[in-house]
């Protein structure tokens, strides 16, 4: 089977405007949550969120920039970083051999909220953004920026959207449909999601504490993350940096409830197991789990139940991290942001820390939740998982880039 590797990474997160700044912030245990200024938070449970202070400008003329949503910018800037690192746009590939798959959950709804509100209240409502392509516009801007004419898709499965985007890109390369793909996702904070999670009582009053006994809910974040994927042989032949390998990908349905996870994590266990089977790995070979870890009481409990079921004896002491404690829940971008961190963790052979984890919930036993960065971790394989509204589960397994 054709092997697929990561040759470029881009990140814009509340911890930094590029991958290195974001990752060093993550390892240092910095907290990207701050007071949200993008809109008024009066009346909500919290005023904290992983807001990005200054969104960098992508390299397109002003006439295009003014038509981009905040999420589009986050996605495009991260794609620019990833493409630059991989050099894929100068690899001599025909334009239709490079796909673009950027997932999104509520991307663009920040602008949509303001547009429809102004329109209804008789204010100035200029339609600058392309609401007919509201979630899929990020993919399109990336394709336009680099002239990639391969297939394009926008998986939108709420919080597992961008993990699915990565998996799709991997499969399209594996099947030979394309040779390379820019994959990832972008999401901006928005009134709709802030208000919605507040209304369903999922939003906690403080920055979130995944897996902690006294966790009180999620906190929202925003970000963009992109990965360049390509066939391993192609990458090696052109001397591209091989940062990691994607070994397997799976999705599943809980078929249980629109917003609550299955209490035993049934669908979650199924995707994890499918990923291990496809990769031909045993649970004991996984050195780190990049958890979904939203810090809602229900998610963390169900996720740990699924992990226990799949890992069995190997669950004891298995390192588990949720980056949502540092950057918030980036919804549609979460899977890609966290996968990018996992790729960097493999490259640095360092397990990043969980924040605010001093008091682990006994229901989240028997895992190891590192509270400080752990270098020389001997990482070989990382399991990354994301679970979305509607019981939409996705997972993938990453291996080191230097595997022969």
């Amino acid at each position: 089977m054709k092997r697929v590797v990561v040759t470029g990474l881009g990140l814009v997160t509340p911890l930094g405007v590029d991958r290195d700044q974001s990752f060093s912030g993550l390892l240092a245990g910095e907290d990207g949550h701050r007071r949200v200024t993008l809109f008024s938070t009066a009346g909500y449970t919290t005023d904290r969120g992983g807001e990005i202070a200054v969104v960098p400008e992508p390299g397109l003329p002003r006439k295009h920039l003014r038509r981009m949503t905040r999420a589009d910018r986050l996605g495009l800037v991260s794609a620019e970083q990833a493409v630059a690192q991989s050099g894929i746009s100068d690899a001599g590939l025909a334009p239709h051999r490079v796909a673009v798959v950027m997932g999104a959950g509520a991307a663009g709804l920040h602008e949509a909220y303001e547009f429809f509100k102004a329109r209804e209240q008789g204010g100035r409502s200029v339609l600058r953004h392309h609401f007919g392509e509201i979630q899929s516009s990020t993919s399109r801007w990336v394709a336009f920026r680099f002239g990639f004419e391969g297939p394009r898709a926008c998986p939108s499965t709420a919080c597992s959207s961008s993990l699915t985007a990565i998996g799709l890109g991997m499969r399209w390369i594996r099947s030979g449909e394309v040779e390379a793909a820019v994959v990832g996702g972008a999401e901006s904070l928005s009134r709709l999601t802030f208000s919605g999670f507040n209304a369903v009582s999922a939003l906690g009053p403080e920055p979130c504490s995944p897996f902690a006994r006294h966790r009180r809910g999620m906190s929202l974040g925003e970000g963009g993350a992109a990965l360049v994927l390509e066939g391993r042989e192609h990458a090696l032949a052109r001397g591209a940096p091989v940062l990691a390998e994607i070994l397997s990908f799976a999705t599943s349905a809980d078929a249980h409830h629109m917003t609550a996870p299955h209490p035993e994590g049934r669908g979650a266990a199924q995707v994890m197991r499918n990923c291990l089977d496809q990769a031909g790995l045993s649970p004991g070979q996984i050195g780190l789990v990049g958890a979904h870890g939203t810090a809602t009481p229900a998610n963390d409990k169900a996720e740990c139940a699924a992990l226990r079921e799949v890992f069995g004896e190997a669950a004891t002491g298995l390192p588990v991290v949720s980056h949502k404690s540092g950057v918030g829940h980036c919804l549609g971008a979460a899977g890609a942001v966290e996968t990018a961190f996992a790729v960097m963790a493999l490259g640095a052979d360092t397990i990043p820390p969980n924040l605010r984890i001093s008091d682990v919930d006994p229901e989240c036993a028997p895992f190891d939740f590192p509270a400080a960065a752990r270098p020389d971790a001997g990482l070989e394989y990382v399991l990354k998982e994301s679970f979305g509204f509607g019981g939409s589960n996705a997972a993938l397994i990453l291996g080191r880039g230097d595997r022969s």
Binding site: F144, S195, T251
Partner: protein, 404 residues
């Protein structure tokens, strides 16, 4: 396990020209479009009967949580699963689901946002929030139909349906699922209606009567409809082993996407022709082998001209021989039309006819194609159909359907 052939074993629909398969079959046989235009009120492009009647088999408790797209999707999916004879009474992790949509969640999103800005955060309606996500129908279908296999959702302007078909095929071919329910669903929600006229103005289209006349000489623009279409796709081996009736074979989806910014219309006949050629090559077909081409024509003056140019290039010497059918007159323009049009194509294979294009008016002779029109079908000379897909998002697709 690897699978070579993927077949269709079930069909379902909910559209203006048929709220069930037999009604749609009758509409195709007579060229009757149920799409209603009432004066200036383009909202009359809505589905005839209110989807509240689509709740058969769903408890009132559950039904009240389903928004319009969910009800349409569920109505169509039940028909398809029933026809396929898939036993989903036991929860089945080998049966999966994929949905393609351009507007699912848009109506509920606006409704929710309105409660937020009107009533304030403390009164925002929590019961609406789960249905704001574009993968709401996907989540509800898995719950109602107890599908626990692979699950995802595509949000792609114009080709969401084709991306869903491609995903379903990939899961079946990889051996991750025995059968996939593939649903395309879109609603003509308040935001869609509000944005439609803005887009038409931006495209320089004067579209006063809202009539959609694909390939017609008086065509003046596209109008969004609302509909659901469902296919059950299955590995041929699985279908034969359980004695299911095989309705058609579904070939791979060939696809590319224009590297143009959001808001621009497709203008690359060469790329569309290349995609069509790739789909034919996959099956080893010559253009002259085709029974008909199902066009993406939506009534937009420029888009239809572009597609006609692509078709002339593909069909070359056969241009006046191979019939071209524009099916969007039966349902309106949909981001997910690829699935519903595939349903109509399979019905045509079953009936052995080339259906008339509905609502074309007088065919534009300058296009140089043999476009069907009128109220009577032609006999189908060859049981092979090429279906093109395209839309506002810049994606271009081609898929093939054939007699088993």
């Amino acid at each position: 396990m690897s699978v070579d052939r993927v077949v269709v074993t079930g069909l379902g629909c909910a559209c203006a020209s048929g709220t069930g398969i037999e009604e749609l079959r009758g509409s195709l046989a007579t060229g009757h479009s149920g799409v209603v235009i009432e004066g200036e009120d383009r909202a009359a492009w809505k589905l005839g009967p209110e989807p509240v009647t689509f709740g058969k088999g769903v408890s009132k408790m559950a039904l009240r949580r389903l928004d319009k797209t969910m009800r349409m999707a569920l109505h169509a999916a039940r028909q398809a699963v029933l026809q396929a004879g898939l036993d989903t009474s036991e929860e089945r992790h080998r049966f999966g689901l994929v949905v393609g949509t351009g507007f699912a969640g848009s109506g509920t999103s606006l409704e929710y946002m309105r409660t937020d800005w009107k009533d304030g955060p403390s009164l925002a309606n929590p019961s609406l929030f789960p249905n704001t996500v574009p993968n709401g129908p996907a989540g509800q279908l898995t719950i109602q139909l107890k599908l626990r296999g692979p699950l995802t959702n595509f949000f792609d302007a114009g080709v969401a349906g084709e991306n869903a078909v491609a995903y379903a095929r990939s899961e079946i071919v990889a051996g991750n699922a025995d059968a996939m329910v593939v649903c395309g669903v879109d609603e003509r929600s308040e935001p869609v209606v509000a944005l439609e006229s803005v887009y038409a103005r931006a495209a320089g289209e004067r579209h006063p009567d809202g009539l959609l006349r694909p390939f017609g000489n008086a065509r003046s623009g596209a109008t969004f409809g609302e509909a659901a279409g469902v296919l059950v796709l299955e590995s041929e081996a699985h279908a034969r082993a359980r004695g299911a009736t095989v309705l058609a074979e579904c070939g791979p989806v060939a696809r590319r996407a224009e590297a143009t910014p959001p808001g621009t219309r497709s203008d690359h006949p060469g790329m569309l022709a290349a995609v069509a050629a790739a789909a034919l090559l996959e099956r080893g077909w010559e253009p002259a082998d085709l029974g008909f081409v199902s066009a993406a024509a939506c009534g937009s003056p420029e888009f239809d001209r572009m597609e006609a140019a692509a078709l002339r290039a593909i069909l070359a010497g056969t241009a006046t021989m191979v019939p071209v059918v524009a099916l969007k007159g039966y349902c309106g323009e949909l981001s997910s039309s690829g699935v519903l049009r595939a349903v109509m194509a399979v019905l045509s294979l079953e009936e052995g006819f080339v259906p008339p294009s509905a609502r074309v008016g007088v065919v534009d002779a300058e296009l140089g194609l043999s476009v069907t029109a009128g109220d009577a079908p032609r006999p189908l000379a060859r049981g092979r159909i090429l279906q093109l897909g395209a839309g506002a998002g810049g994606g271009l697709t081609a898929l093939t359907l054939s007699r088993p």
